[in-house]
Amino acid sequence: MSSISVKRGTSAAHRRTPGAWAVLLALAVLAVVMLLPFVIITFNAFKTPAEYSSHGPLSVPKGFYLQGIKDFWNRVDFGAKLVNSLIISGSVAVLAVILSVLNSYALGIGRIKGRVWILVLFLLANTMPQEVLVYPLYFLSKKVDLYDTRLSVIIIFTAIQTAFGTYLLSSVLSTFPREILEAARMDGAGRFRILWRVVVPISRPTLGVLFVFFFIWTWNEFFLPMIFLISNENQTVPVALGVLQGQKMMDATMTSASALLGIIPAVVFFLIFQRTLTRGITVGAVK
């Protein structure tokens, strides 16, 4: 079975059918469409404001103007914003994965009573728009003296991401092979030992994927961080980018420069963990 498919694969690589060409063309067009915004942003990031105003956003930059990026970096103290974003996204990703595992161990494998309702509750919490959460969270954080601290944002997003993580992981773990669990129990492993020595290692690819997603989602969050991180020293990268959107003015070149700076960390993170991502998906598929 596998040898046949391999043979077919190699022959297809040598002479492509019209259908394959069409797919290739469609993919190429899609790639261009996806990359075009990044190209335009990169163009505008390296233009002088005057050049932008007189030639428009689509023209190719004449020189290599770095002042916009430098100015933006200094203006918002971008290094400090990067550290803030890293701290918040990193903590949230780790904590949310740990909590999701604990929750879904009880829900998916432990099969506790009323788990369907608990999952429905989590799902509902997930569909809640953040605007609804703002005021309750604001008053709560003020009561416990956490307003305008990074810790408040970490707690909030850990809860939000855990809600999704629990929902997803519970359904993954509910299909966990029972025989393995039985075998572990026969060998005298306790609940915690089974979780730590059996369940976690086997589902590690899935956890890796969750970790990466939690990190990137939290990194890109704008609305709640904007409301909870009011001091400049606590702000994250997306909130700092907002400084450039004035009341009546927008500085298109500097906005592009900042956008470029803003997406680079997420892209780098993705490239580092790309293998984890693909592995997670393929392992899941085999199972």
């Binding site: 005057a50 007189s54 030639h55 428009g56 903590s91 970790f211 904007m226 004035g246 298109a252």
Partner: protein, 429 residues
């Protein structure tokens, strides 16, 4: 895999440790004035206020100004929450208007500084139509009896024109409304669209409102903006405005394809020399000075009108929770001094208490003289979107219909009236 896990664990531990110690800190050992505003550093206000901070620190040894540049959006969305917490700044810039500063005043989040304003004589520096947006009544409607803010600068609309294009087609700068329309006719005959416009944002409604203002008077503006009387959207002023705007689109003064454009597009199209005229605010002035290099440009006020769009700029407000109110007033006082006001003017801003004689650049001088003409004639007619929250979007939708011709002027005016009156009943007038 094991390595990756260890690295992750280390990262997480480090992150948690960092975030844990991030909570404290920032203790106030010596005196500190916490100041927030959202103007960019190289704008006229940014430059002038930086200088004011320096002078303030020189005059108050032992006091440090802790300045933070905020984003406009963050201030718009979070100001009530911030001011209601212990993290409120001592002094901050905030938007003028009923839905912004008025609302905060009504909620009791701003300090009533009437006594301070009269004691320090700021009321004498500010002409009535500028002061109107700094004073609010108990309902948070502007033009009230209590001062909740102090504006440093003003803004108004004028026609920016491209001298090179005017010369090329042999057109004189218009001084009357007749000459203005004749000039536009000539441009159209030469195949040039005379007015730069943007239908998706404020420029289109500002053309429309200016047309209405040219047939209106101050009580008309008061009725419209301050709910002092009944507003009829089918009165001569509004009817004239909608019909004329409609005509202008038909005659080609305003391009039909401008309905989907943003203000930024309209402004940069003028910079690129694509349109001979753009009627817009003094907020473009500094940028035009810096960025227009390929042609000569100048400005003129909208001809033959008693009123034109404009108002005070944003306000300095002192939050109720400010811990250093006296220092905040001292700071405002410095920003109202002649040197700071003239510095604002030198950088292309419109100071409220500037002195044209002290301004070097002739073009900047004209900017201020034009403003003083308007202020002294009580000719600032504010903006059309102020009366109701989200009225801006109603105006955008209406003017877009006029540009594309998808609805007749009278039904567009009906649409305005409906939204306007809904708001009136909401606020209990």
């Amino acid at each position: 895999m094991l390595k990756a896990t260890k690295a992750l664990a280390a990262l997480a531990a480090a992150a948690l440790a960092l975030s844990a110690c991030g909570g404290g800190g920032g203790g106030s050992s010596s005196k500190e004035l916490k100041l927030w505003h959202y103007e960019t550093q190289d704008s006229a206000m940014g430059v002038a206020w930086n200088q004011a901070i320096k002078e303030f620190e020189a005059a108050h040894p032992g006091v440090k100004v802790k300045f933070e540049e905020k984003s406009f959006e963050q201030m718009q969305k979070t100001a009530p929450m911030i001011l209601n917490s212990k993290d409120a700044p001592d002094i901050m810039e905030y938007n003028k208007g009923n839905a912004t500063a008025g609302l905060l005043a009504k909620q009791g989040l701003l300090t009533d500084m009437t006594a301070e304003v009269t004691k320090r004589g700021w009321d004498k520096l500010l002409p009535p139509s500028v002061a109107e947006t700094a004073k609010y009544d108990a309902k948070g409607v502007m033009g009230g009896d209590k001062w909740y803010g102090v504006p440093n600068y003003a803004e108004y609309l004028q026609v920016y024109y491209n001298k090179s294009l005017f010369d090329k087609y042999g057109i004189k700068v218009p001084t009357t409304f007749d000459e203005f329309t004749k000039a536009m006719d000539t441009f159209v005959q030469k195949g040039v669209t005379p007015l730069s416009n943007a239908g998706a944002e404020y420029p289109a409604q500002q053309y429309l409102y200016q047309l209405a203002l040219s047939k209106a008077d101050k009580p008309w503006v008061d009725r419209y903006e301050r709910y002092t009387g009944k507003v009829d959207f089918h009165d001569p002023a509004w009817t004239y405005a909608a019909n004329t705007f409609n005509d202008w689109v038909k005659k080609g003064y305003i391009a039909k394809n401008s309905s989907g454009l943003k203000a930024e597009d309209a402004g940069t199209a003028f910079i690129a020399g694509k349109f001979p005229m753009f009627f817009s605010g003094s907020w473009w002035y500094g940028r035009y000075e810096k960025e227009i290099k390929n042609f000569q440009w100048d400005t003129f006020l909208w001809p033959d009108t008693k009123l034109t769009l404009g108002s005070s700029g944003n306000l300095w407000v002192v939050p109720k929770g400010s811990k250093n109110k006296d220092l905040a007033y001292d700071f405002i006082n410095i920003t109202m001094k002649k040197e700071i006001q003239n510095l604002l003017a030198d950088n292309g801003g419109v100071p409220v208490a500037g002195d044209p004689a002290g301004v070097k650049d002739p073009k900047n001088k004209k900017l201020i003289e034009n403003y003083q003409t308007l202020a002294n004639n009580d000719a600032l007619g504010f903006y059309p979107d102020w009366p109701a929250p989200a009225f801006y979007d109603v105006l955008v939708a209406g003017t877009q219909k006029l540009i594309t011709g998808s609805a007749p002027p009278s039904s567009v005016l009906d649409g305005f009236a409906k939204a306007y009156n809904e708001n009136l009943s909401n606020i209990g007038h």
